[in-house]
């Protein structure tokens, strides 16, 4: 009997019904709720470290504190000074790494696939602001944190990277943390969103990342 392909699992228990797609065990749940939470851990996550003014920085074009979707649908997040997190659809890891490799010059560049090291959650809906206001001290108004803002802060007392990544004009946030805290972060956000009627939506590659604009 042929050996089955290994199954990848998120740190966040999938809400039933559960299926396997992209090699990951994921929730197949769908919802039409206004406020939704989705475990996006299966997205490819590439951490790039390079100088702030080298070839990689110029090619990625996204400064620290901002996030933007490139022409191939990769969300480039300026996650720190000289540090970028690239979020890509499942299976696009090798291609994403290759593209960064191509633009490096003589500088020291680190390219790490941290897909397995980070938990990633998306909250979508206009009331996402009210939810986040219960767990994070940052001002989520449009003036201070417009679409495309990226920052690191305490969310439910956990160091978390937050990216505002609106989808089709609807407010949406990606939150990621160290993988081992994933279930805790998810549970904390779900609890905070309970009063706003938050519902779980299973991972869908097409909804996990914004389409290139």
């Amino acid at each position: 009997m042929a050996e089955r392909a290994p199954i990848a699992r998120s740190p966040i228990s999938p809400a039933p019904p559960v299926t396997v797609e992209y090699g990951w065990e994921i929730s197949a749940r769908r919802t039409s709720a206004d406020l939704r939470i989705m475990d996006c851990t299966p997205l490819v996550k590439i951490l790039v470290r390079a100088s702030i003014d080298g070839g990689v920085a110029r090619a990625l074009e996204v400064p620290f504190g901002r996030a933007a979707c490139d022409e191939r649908g990769v969300l480039v997040v300026g996650s720190g000074p000289g540090e970028w997190l690239l979020l890509a659809p499942p299976g696009a890891g090798t291609e994403t790494v290759r593209r960064v490799e191509e633009v490096r010059d003589r500088e020291i560049v680190s390219i790490l696939d941290v897909t397995h090291g980070r938990a990633l959650v998306r909250i979508s809906g206009e009331e996402a602001v009210d939810l986040l206001a219960k767990v994070c001290g940052i001002d989520f108004s449009d003036e201070v944190t417009p679409d495309g803002t990226a920052f690191r802060s305490s969310v439910a007392k956990l160091t978390t990277d937050v990216v505002r990544d609106d989808q089709d004009g609807v407010r949406s946030y990606l939150l990621h943390c160290e993988r081992s805290f994933g279930q805790y972060l998810f549970d904390s956000l779900h609890d905070a969103g309970d009063e706003f009627g938050i519902e779980i939506e299973g991972f869908a590659g097409s909804k996990a990342l914004s389409q290139p604009g």
Partner: protein, 956 residues
Amino acid sequence: MRSATVQTRMPMRLGPQPGEVIDRHRPFTFTWNGERYPAFAGDTIISALAASGERVFSRSFKYHRPRGLLTASFLDPGCVVQVNDEPNVRGSHRRVEPGMIVSAQNAWPSLRFDAKSVNRFLGRFLPPGFYYKTFIKPQRLWPAYEKVLQRFAAGGRTFPDSPHGYYDKRYAHPDIVVAGGGPAGMAAAVAAAEAGARVILVEEEYELGGHLRWGSEDELGALRELRDEVARTPGIEVLTNSVVNGRYDGNWVAILQRNLPHVEERLIKARAKVLVVAPGLIERPYVFRGNDLPGVILSTAARRLINLFAVKPGERAVVLTANADGDAAVADLERAGVEVARVEDARRGGDIIGARGRNGVRMVECGDGSRVECDLLVTATGWTAPTSLLNMAGDRPVYNPTAARFFPSRPSDDVLATGGISGDGSLDELLAHARATGQEAARRALKVGSALRAGVPRRVDVEEPPDMPPIEIPELPVVEHPELFQGRTDGIVDFSEDISSKDIVAAAKEGYDSVELMKRYTTATMGPTQGKLETVNAVAILARATGKTIEETGTTVWRPPYAPITLGALAGRNFEPVRYSPMQPWHERHGANPMVAGAWIRPEHYGDPESEARNVRENVGLIDVTPLGKLDLRGPDVPKLLNLLYVNQWNTLEVGKVRYGVMCAEDGVVLDDGVTGRLGPEHYLMTTTTSGAATVWEWIESWLQTEHPDWQVHVTPVTDAYASINIAGPKSRELLLRVAGDVDLSPEAFPYMNVRTGTVAGVEGCFMWRIGFTGELSYEVHVPAAYGLYVWEKLMDRGADLGVKPFGIQAQRILRLEKGHLIVGQDTDGLTGAYSAGLSWAIKLYKEDFIGKPELSWQSECDNSFQLVGLQPHDGSVVPPEASQIVEGENEIAGRITSSCMSPTLGRSICLGFVAPHLAEPGTSVTVLLPNGERTTARVMEYLAHFDPKGERQRG
């Protein structure tokens, strides 16, 4: 029909009132002290009881005097009740609900016959400071005193088994917080929002409106207009049944929000650019004999009862009035059918000498000596300006004798005041002042906002509002008011604490003549009302007692909280991040006993740790070591970094090799240890202790960024990126062979202290380390974390015939102690140098430099530090508990046990411990003092390892 039935049971309920807040179409019943009472939706607990003719709602704090309604508001000190299992509920504020079970507090056996009311006859023996003076000596009797005093302590009952409610917090970043939703607050909020500011408008009551709610037709009309304006103006978030509880530095404003649909109470942490304080004025009581009798109420209480709740406050009234509100109360009373038997007008010399009655007013002695029989005495003698929030911003209120109240003195840039707290005047004048204040607040807030946004790097461009000139805020007039604080007789000043005017005078005579000392000595103003009813009277009485003016006496400093707040609201949600390994679901399914290790939840054991340890020695075991710290190091200068961090040598480490390293701080104290493997020419993977992972990362970054920013090194924490599984035991190679696809595991190709990259159970990109903590042949496999559970299950499945079993932390600790491996933090402490820890073999002082070298160079020449040694008790059945002292002579400390256990492999107890240098020679017998006082002896061993000291098993 049902409505009519209920109505007949509410003899004091009036017909419909223009501004009433009750819904007569929604009657229901609730329970008060075991009896059912009717109510309407919108009633407070007390208004419903008052409608049924009840007048006594509690017993007073100290003397257990009967207390009734005084303010008919949140502050009402005599209306604090128990609701279901919730103590200390403000009965004049909390809306009554169907089926609610309400009972009186602070009374035994019943409210009507309170045995503790004997205290009132002992009043002369309970002066201020009674507790301090009486119970301070002899100290040994305090436990007995405490038991007695607890029985007399005021307050409701708590029930430990009650489920705790849902409390949480919320952060907010408005431009402006307006504290107070009366007419001035509403007008200020609207004006600010119209000027472009985002506003949070906070009102303590359930509806906006302040005093307009119980006002005339004209005032009700103005209220409707203001409410409409608030509703239709975008940018205003209205929070009712909420209170601004404190103002802190940087305009950090704490707002308590009560009784939300999903939340019991919520603490909002608002970072306001400008705070507008508009709480209105609070009517203060008058001090005279009998002023705390049920039936003695404030004019605003009478008007609230009549106009909001349609409750007739009494049948026959005497009114003492000194202002227009008192006059309006007279009109309301007459309209409600109350016989107003006498109006004492203080503006024309009228006064009240005292009130008499047992459980309520029966007769009032007026200023001219005449006596009037009545069941209601209404007073309107002046106002308190609640300047608390302004105090918290640094303001010191100043007394104005014309208005007979305190006023704010010091304007600030980020806190403004409006409404009655700032002055008097007509409604139009107040609204004009409030609107100008709101506009000015918006101007200041938007200016601050622009400055803040300018400091945010690379933000998107937004159009900044033009810089506007300051808005001129008109002065409010100050209306003359008689200075009425205390009449010709003594009475209660602080209704919460049962402090009388006599108590304040006595305190002054005892030398507590400053207002702050008087406050602390008598506890006046320190009860739940926090001075809002009693401060001005207390200050005035103290001033008279000391011969000073009120201005000279000054007022107390008001601090947060403005209103009582529950511990639940302060605590909020319990956020306690926890970390789980990818294999956690398997551990849970297989009965692992969870152990908290920092934020990690780890399997302590699976039921029998000694059996788990034996299986590792005999077969093969798996342990989840995911929490082990892992740092990815890249760059040409990594060897320089390793040489700096570790005390040993790193220049010669080849690709595929692993080396153990010891990290010390500058003082030579052991900071961390672990192995580092070289995965590629410029690529290394460092492991750290579980607890040291974050510290080591920060330590490395600190050295790189401050001392060697020129080094070409990238350090990235990857602890969570890999699930780590240690496969340990003589059959570990055989097990790994079954799942490792592309790596030659033979001892020759993959010897001890080597690392390989390859495929495990079909998962690519795994690291396999031939290292071990257990002393057995073992492999540590680092698997991309999402596949951790998959690989673990594969190993368990494929190794079933090899006897593979999981083992937990407890078994691992047994095994490592048998092997004599130290644990940094357990076998070392914050003072343990590397030489003491038996690590001299690793320290290479010939290296050019490394962290801790100067100190370690000095330590190498000294020979006086304790040494870590292996110890075996002579009686192998005795396991000295960890931290047992090693002693010499008359209990002179000569060391301590750091680790100990019963070894299942050796069948005897084994230990690691520190001993004084002269005791460190192998074979030396030392004395161990056990916690129970007994002594045992132990032998110093030749090696730290008790088992396989040559390491033949792990190198096999």
